[in-house]
Symmetry: C2
Subunit: 323 residues, 2 copies
Amino acid sequence: MHDVARVAGVSIKTVSRVVNGEPGVRASTRERVDAAIGQLRFLRNDGASQLRSGRADTIGLIVEDLANPFYSVLAAAVERVTRRHGHLLMTGSGEGLSEQEQSLAAAFLSRRAAGLLVVPTESDHAWLTQEATAGTPLVFLDRPAAGIVADTFLTDNEGGVRSGVEHLAAHGHRHIAFLGDDPAFWTAARRLDGFHTATTALGLRCDRVAMGPHDPAGLVSVLRAWTQGDDPITAILTGNNIVTVAALHAMRAADVRLGLVGFDDFELADLLEPSVTVIAQDPASMGEQAAHMLFQRLAGDTTPPRTVIQATRLVVRESGRLR
Amino acid sequence: MHDVARVAGVSIKTVSRVVNGEPGVRASTRERVDAAIGQLRFLRNDGASQLRSGRADTIGLIVEDLANPFYSVLAAAVERVTRRHGHLLMTGSGEGLSEQEQSLAAAFLSRRAAGLLVVPTESDHAWLTQEATAGTPLVFLDRPAAGIVADTFLTDNEGGVRSGVEHLAAHGHRHIAFLGDDPAFWTAARRLDGFHTATTALGLRCDRVAMGPHDPAGLVSVLRAWTQGDDPITAILTGNNIVTVAALHAMRAADVRLGLVGFDDFELADLLEPSVTVIAQDPASMGEQAAHMLFQRLAGDTTPPRTVIQATRLVVRESGRLR
C-alpha cells in the first residue's frame, strides 16, 4: 500500500479508503489509485492466492446490455472489486426481458454463485426471496426491484433532472421540452417526474414531452413542430446518453438550434459545437460500492438492507445557453 | 424462426445464417435479426432449457479492459452467442498484465470452463498448451498469442491503415503524421508497420511518428512542433479510438487544423466539426464469430486451427480533406 500511495501521489489512508470502497473519494483520485494498483500488479494476497489455487468462488452480474457504456463501465468496476476479493465474475445481458433475467439468475445460482448483482427488469422479483432467505447476498443497481427488500444502489434521478432544469432556467429558457426514454423503465419514469416537479416549481410550462423508444424521423418531426408556432421551445433536456445522441442527430437534421442538457456524460461532449452540458452519473462508483456491499454481506454483515442514492454532478459546458 | 424472419423483414434462410454464425450477412441485417430475436423472447430451445435446468456450462472471456467500448461491444456479442448455446459467460479484465491473465485463465479452468476466449497479452502463451492438448477449445481475439497454435480472429490492421493513408493522399496530403498507441501492443505495432508500408509505396514522408502512451500536454507540443517550420504536416492518422480522442483534444488545445483519419469508429464521429473519417473495425462481428468457432470446436470440429482476418471499412466523412 505504501507503493500504491507513492505511485498515485496520495496518502495511504486514501488508498485504504479506495480499496475498502469507502465514500468521500473523488472519482479522479480513485482512478489514479486504481491505475497505480494495476501498475504495481497489486492484488490483495488472499484474492490472488484464491484465484491461483482454484478455490475461487463466483459472483453473478446481470445488466440490461453489456455493450451500453453505462453498464460496461459499471461491469468493469464490479469485476475489478470481485477479482481483488479472489472471486470470478459471471456476466449476462438480461435485455429487459424478465424471463431472460430469471434464466440467467437461476443458471448463476445453479453454478453456486456466492452472490448476485442485478440491474433489475421492471417485473416482480419475489422469486428471489427464497434465495435471499437462504443467505445468498443480492444487490440491486440503477433501479429498485419490486417484491423484495435488498441492498440497492440508485442515482438521484429527480435531483439530477432538477439541476439541469434550474441550469436552463438560469440561462433564460422559459419553455423547455423533455425527451425521455421508454417510461416503462423505472429510471425514465423518475426523470420524467423530476422534470414535472422542477418545471412546476419554477413556474415553467412542461407540456412538451416525448418518451421513447424514439425513431430518428419521428424525433425530427417532433423538434420541428415544437420550434414553430406561438410559443416555441428554446431548450431540451434529454433523459439518458442514448437519447442525447439521438437528439443531437435530430437537431442537426431538423436544422434547429436549441439549448440542451443531457442526462449522462459522454466522451466527446466537450468537443462538440457547442460543447454539451450534462448531468453526470458515476457508474464506476456505483458498481464499486455495490460490489463492496455484496462482499461485506458475504463477510457476515447482517445489518438491515440499505438503499444508497448517489448524487449526480452537473458538468457545465456551453449548450445550456439561450441561442 | 418464421416469426423472427417476419419481424426482422428477412428470409428464414437469413435468420438461420445469423443464428448459426455463417458469413455473408451484413452487420445491419444481423442487428435487425438479433433485435427481432430479443423482441420475440426467442431462445434456442436447447440453450434456454439448459440455462433453466442448471446444467449450464461456462465459457471464460478475458479482455484487456471491459470498460473500453471496443471490448464491451465484443463481450456483449460473445455473451449473446454463449447464452443462445445454453452456456454462461465468465469475464475478466487482464489489464495488459500477463500474471493477471494467467490467474484469470487458471481460475476459469479450475471452475471447469468448457472453453476460453482470450484477447492475449504480449507474453508467451505456451502455458496454455497442456489445456489445449487436453481438448479445451481456446480462441484468441484481436491479437495472436505467441507460443501456441489456436483459432485466432484478427483485424486487417495493415490494410486498414493503408486505406486511411490512401484516402488522405487522394485529398492532396503529402506529409502525414502517425499517432499510435504503445508499440508494445501487437495491434499498435502492426498499424505502425502499415503506416510505413503505405506511405513508402506512395512516395510520402513517414518521419513524423509518435507512439503512446500519450499525455495531453506532450501531444499538444508535438502537434505544434510538427505544424511549424519548412515542411509542416497537413494530416494525422491515429492508431485507435483512444488516441483519436486524445488527438482531437490536442488539436483543439494547440489550435491547429489538420486532416484526420482515425482507426476505430466512435459514436459521435459524424457530429463533430468536421465529421471524422474513420477506419472501422467490427468488434461485434469478431466476438460473434469467435464464439461460434469455439462452440463448433465443442461440437467436435477437429479441423486444423485457423486464423481469420476481418477487413476494415473506411467510413468517409469530412476530416480527410486538405484544410
